[in-house]
Symmetry: C2
Subunit: 400 residues, 2 copies
């Protein structure tokens, strides 16, 4: 597991406390402090019903460089109208007064049940305690504090040498269910101590999210509360202003490794998942077409239940390819592989294929489904999981 | 149940036999004979991977008025390439020789596992027996004969007086899983003894499918083998040539009732379904927008698992509305009702709403989710079901 191997990031302190927001005896309130001079950039859910904290965090991020991030579980504070918005502002004000900063320097994040506002008292009692326990070594506890139906905390970390200086990148994320491309109920907070220029940070967080969190899907549902923040504290004395420079490339590569590790960790811990499945589509007319085909396969409940059953029912993969909403598809050019085993050639079952070969691959916990459309150079990729009894169980019983 | 209440249609005979195509002791081969002078029109799957029988039936239907429909379960004969196509033609030839008609007067239909061709011997041995047992009273047995994971045969029937003469409409369908708008693994065969003009029949079958089978969704997957045939035997001595006439309107209405009853019966018997859910969206800018929103809700695994749990988790409905791929959505205008209970007003929880009210509706076996977008006059509708443990079980174990 990755969650025990991480490095602190200078200029970034974290605290996680049991505030009793919804349930007793669990960490449910996390505060992250960013030292003065730090910068941040974010991407947020594309769902039109944006939770109050998403609206507030977006606005505040445009007004100021953040000093504090505040994350609660238990209540999503979405679908709560003006009242939810006022509650959210109230918690930001509370923290800003305790920490002596402007309310707009606080970014709020919430995850949990939609449609109910949270009680204020746990924030009033909890925030002072949280501020007292801020610690650069708090990543592990904070990663626990943002969990909902996750079964393990998710932290990833890298160190890289830039111009003879060590730069650290550490991030944490939560996810579990309701995950699909375009930021579905997931929260991700990734920090580096390099001093990355703001325009670069804005650009990078989008590219990095596209290459990681936007490639994962559990059930095709997109939440009201997703957010992913990229933080640069600037404490490492390495300034990255030119995106085309060698240090920028090295830093970006290390950031991408952290983003991808976190995204894949979300899938490995997805609700009820028993298999990690990478779907790689090549030979499409465009990258966009390839991505659409990959997502259609990745969202198919029939493909996902076959994966759960370790059944090489490749007809379901073919049926998903055939209904993907792309303009043209030459079925007689389509090839499909499960890991190294070719199951479909020229749109039909491959001559060399045997059920035994398919069953052998399907028994593995990590499987790659590779599709070649034979029509061009476009490529796409999705990471997903199977669909199990436990998915239904967890989601049927979520609120009880 | 509807399957025992049906009237024979003059000029349409059916037979269902145990041919041993895949399993012993089950009806798996159905033949429908249409008397000379009859007409038919059809709609077929939109999946690009079209099974061999879909390709052959489409082609034959363009060449000739059909005399025989032949339906087998066990094997879908999809993804089987040239070999599957040749096998399919072979079975049509076989039946045409036995029945003394042209091969193009036979329409083949298959449903079952994708990617394997069927054995020929059961057809050779079974078709003569099927032809011997053709009977106008064969609807019930034929409806059993086309079942796969269906648990009950589905037949619907109506009689209507046109110009003082009795006209009969009887139809059967199979579905169960893999059902979504645009003809997903479902077969439907609906016959009337009226003499409907061919252009009208062609037009009607599309409109009728759009108002019935294309409104149902179980899991968003679209199969390679769907087909829906509308047959007019012409034996009732009532000719319908003018679509705007009063008899045409009455006949269409009765046809629609049969199509809708069959479509809803597929949902009621969907794999693992415990609830019948009608999703009605109004107030959209266009009918198309409304339909997209209805389908997005109807496909959401999170909404469907909440329905299974009888949990009025309306936040998941709101989240589905918010991610529906339509151009504009004014979230503060959205209202949501469960049956008669308003749960969302102006984009947030309704003041009058209590969890008890929601729970009371959710406990019902039939539920209507009504959404008003407050933006126009567009309307859409989807019939769907919940998502249960049994859905996963049935689909994980389908081939074993």
């Amino acid at each position: 597991m990755t969650q025990t191997q991480w490095f602190p990031v200078a200029g970034v302190k974290l605290a996680a406390i049991e505030a009793g927001i919804k349930k007793a005896n669990r960490k449910d309130l996390v505060v992250i402090e960013l030292a003065e001079g730090g910068r941040a950039a974010g991407v947020f859910t594309t769902n039109r019903f944006q939770a109050a904290p998403v609206q507030v965090a977006r606005r505040n991020l445009q007004q100021s460089a953040p000093r504090y991030l505040m994350i609660n579980t238990g209540y999503a504070n979405a679908g709560t109208g003006d009242k939810g918005f006022a509650y959210c502002e109230e918690t930001c004000l509370l923290l800003s007064e305790l920490a002596h900063c402007a309310p707009s320097e606080v970014l709020p994040f919430s995850t949990g049940v939609i449609g109910q506002t949270f009680p204020m008292k746990p924030f009033e009692e909890g925030l002072p305690r949280a501020l007292e326990s801020l610690d650069e070594h708090g990543w592990g506890r904070a990663a626990e504090g943002i969990m909902t139906t996750d079964t393990v905390p998710k932290v990833a970390s890298r160190r890289v040498e830039l111009d003879g200086k060590t730069v650290t990148i550490t991030g944490m994320a939560k996810g579990a269910g309701m995950i699909k491309p375009n930021m579905a109920t997931m929260l991700g907070f990734i920090a580096t101590d390099a001093a990355v220029a703001q325009p670069l940070l804005d650009q990078w967080v989008k590219r990095l999210a596209d290459a990681s969190f936007n490639r994962i899907t559990v059930d095709g549902d997109t939440s009201t509360n997703d957010a992913c923040l990229l933080i640069a504290s600037g404490r490492a004395d390495v300034a990255i202003d030119d995106g085309d420079s060698r240090p920028a490339a090295l830093l970006y590569e290390a950031l991408e490794a952290v983003f991808v590790e976190l995204a894949q960790a979300l899938i490995r811990d997805a609700e009820g998942a028993s298999k990690f499945v990478s779907i790689e589509v090549a030979g499409a007319r465009s990258d966009r077409d390839a991505q659409i085909v990959a997502e259609t396969i990745g969202h198919s409940p029939l493909v996902k239940t076959a994966l759960f059953a370790s059944d090489p029912n490749w007809g379901r993969i073919l049926a998903a390819v055939g209904r993907a909403p792309i303009d043209t598809l030459e079925v007689e050019k389509v090839g499909v592989w499960l890991d190294d085993v070719q199951i479909v050639a020229e749109g039909g079952v491959a001559d060399s294929y045997t059920e035994e070969q398919g069953a052998r691959v399907m028994a593995r916990p990590d499987i790659t489904i590779r599709v070649d459309l034979g029509a061009g150079e476009g490529r796409g990729q999705v990471w997903t999981c199977d669909f199990s009894y436990d998915y239904v169980k967890i989601n049927a019983e979520y609120r009880t």
